[in-house]
Each structure stands twice: as C-alpha cells, then as structure tokens.
Subunit: 108 residues, 2 copies
C-alpha cells in the first residue's frame, strides 16, 4: 500500500484536461466500458484509450479487462491525494491572506 507512488503532478495534469474530466464525470455514475465511454465523444477510440491510460497512471481510474471488454471505474486514491493537497494548503493560504490584509482590497 505504502509503496504506491502518488504523483501529484500526474494527478493535477490529468485533471487539467476537459476530456479526461468528462470521462471522470461519466464514471461517477458507475463502471463503464471503454467503448461506451468513447461513444459520446468526438474523438477516436484510440484517443480515449490514451486518456484512460493517463487517468489510470495517475490513480484516478481503475480498469479491469474481462473477455474483450475493459471496464473502467473511479479510483478514489488519486482523488483523495488531490483533495488532500488542496486541503492541506487551504489553511496556510488563508493565513497568507490574513497577513495581506486590505493590501489588495483596491481590486473592485
């Protein structure tokens, strides 16, 4: 378990693409096959597979092949890492803003 290398780079980079976020949202409804994931998208199946590889390597998606069908599902671990990173920094960022005071209040 502890040997998992969660690469925060890969996670945020994976989230930084609209197609991949669309895949994640679809997977939020439950496991889906590759071709059904690709169906509503205006790109080739191969491109979808490449996006899925990025998502899987980042720990945001899990896949398993059964027969000729590869079924994809949300992997909570990558998402957890992303949320934790943001959450950990929220407090220190809030403190930074406190120090800032009304310095930047000129912004309307």
């Amino acid at each position: 378990m502890a040997s998992r290398k969660f690469d925060i780079d890969r996670i945020f980079q994976a989230l930084g693409d609209p197609t991949r976020r669309a895949l994640l949202e679809k997977l939020g409804d439950g496991p889906v096959s590759v071709s059904r994931l690709a169906e509503p998208l205006a790109i080739s199946l191969a491109a979808v597979v490449q996006h899925l590889q990025v998502l899987e390597e980042s720990g945001l998606v899990k896949t398993a092949k059964s027969g000729r069908v590869r079924t994809c599902s949300i992997d909570p671990d990558g998402l957890a890492v992303a949320m934790q990173w943001l959450g950990d920094r929220r407090s220190s960022w809030a403190r930074a803003l406190d120090r800032l005071g009304d310095l930047l209040e000129e912004e309307t």
Copy 2:
C-alpha cells in the same frame, strides 16, 4: 469580478507543475517579490515569470507592481474553484471514496 471566467482547465494544469506548486507553497508564507521567488529555484528568472503568468491567468496568484518590484500573493479564487470542482464530485463518487480514510492516514 463575477465576470471573471475561471477556467478549470487552466487551474488544474497550473497545479500540475512542480515548480508552480513550489511557488504557491512559498506564497503561502505571504507576499513575495518575483526575484525572491526565483532565488531558490534552479531556473532562470524569465522562466519563473512565465510560471507566474500561468498562475495569475488561472486565478491562483495575484500580482501588483510597485516601483520596479512586482509582488506576488495567493489569490483564493482559483483555489476555491479547484476545491469546489473536486468537492462537487465527491458526493457522486462517495461510494468509491469509502477508502479515503485509509489513504489519509498513511499519506504523509
């Protein structure tokens, strides 16, 4: 202000680079000038400025120039958008996130 379009793509992409995250972490201690931000990094000042432009365009950082010094600070808005996106989806992914607790305990 409300007219500002927060581009979730830009935000996550900005977070997907280790140098930019390092800049954000430094800014968590409070506002810093460009050259002081660049100081500990092994890249040119121009490269740092380019990273800062990405951060500013994504809404994660604000900058203001006073005299010849540009002072950079955290902008909470971009962070809020990122956390909101993850948070909004957390519910639909709740089942998958059952293992979140385990992960948070082992991640350092």
